[in-house]
Homo-oligomer: 197 residues x 2
Amino acid sequence: MSKNYNFILASASPRRKELLSIYTKNFKVLPADIDESIPNNMDIDYIPLYIAKMKADAVKNKINNSDILITADTVVILDNKIYGKPKNRDDAYNMLHTLSNKEHKVITGVCCYSGDNNINIEFIDTTFVTFIKLNESIINDYLDTDEYTDKAGAYAVQGYGSLFIEKINGSYDNVVGLPVGKLMAKLLNNNINIFKI
Amino acid sequence: MSKNYNFILASASPRRKELLSIYTKNFKVLPADIDESIPNNMDIDYIPLYIAKMKADAVKNKINNSDILITADTVVILDNKIYGKPKNRDDAYNMLHTLSNKEHKVITGVCCYSGDNNINIEFIDTTFVTFIKLNESIINDYLDTDEYTDKAGAYAVQGYGSLFIEKINGSYDNVVGLPVGKLMAKLLNNNINIFKI
């Protein structure tokens, strides 16, 4: 980095931590507690970015000039409907049953700001994911693993959920929860040498 | 599993070990030492499967009736030419320079046999990977990380190499080195309950 920035990841997600760890082990985690209420009539594809911005707003006053703040929100979208984290096992069952044998979108909204205002990155990343046809038995076996909890769309692409995936079209780390390759490429364009952080 | 099978992964690749670990920690590793010479005029897409079969042949006599043997070989293909592991840094530079701003194929050949002959699975999996446009500076920064060594095509999709990837079309774990989701789905079709292994 031309300047000695520190990363702050405003997310409690262990998957996002792991993805950022590819580039640096040296970052702070600062979960952002927000009320995820959305204005009516918002374009559904931009809701994750709206939420990522809310997360950034919630912690912006806690960062220093030499910090780079990263926030993100990931959703699964099918037929113009958002599938977030399942409330319980039944909810998870219904989500997986609905996603079966279809292509859905995974969208992550990402915000990345530096305390000194030199870095101001906002983008969404979309990946198309096609599920194989699932039956009741395989869904129940999957739910028995408890992997579905805390996952948008009730599956983890990096776990047993990979069983369900016929193919993806787009970036993979976006489906895990943070398009970290694209974010780092954008930081590189902003003269942050991410090979040296 | 209906029967108490043990997995044997005939590969020294730490990435393949990690992928199989999603499903079971309880497997043996038995690297297969082979001479990778290929018959002339073979369809290039089937070379990885040919090599995977050679690896299986090299260790088949070492497995028991209750073992399931897995072998795999992964290559990068562009313009009908195979890009394997780079010989040295210059070779890696040339590979990445050639892959820049283009779509290439990653093909893994997979063999999976049980010692009792009940399981007999052979397949290839193809993923299309599109690279962003790379310049000399970013390639050299990447090579400085030493991530390229021992990787087909001189990059790791799961590391800094994710920076170079515009998008993938197909399965992700195939690009890492073993389409483990597809393999497990095929084992499930063979009545191996991979949720219980």
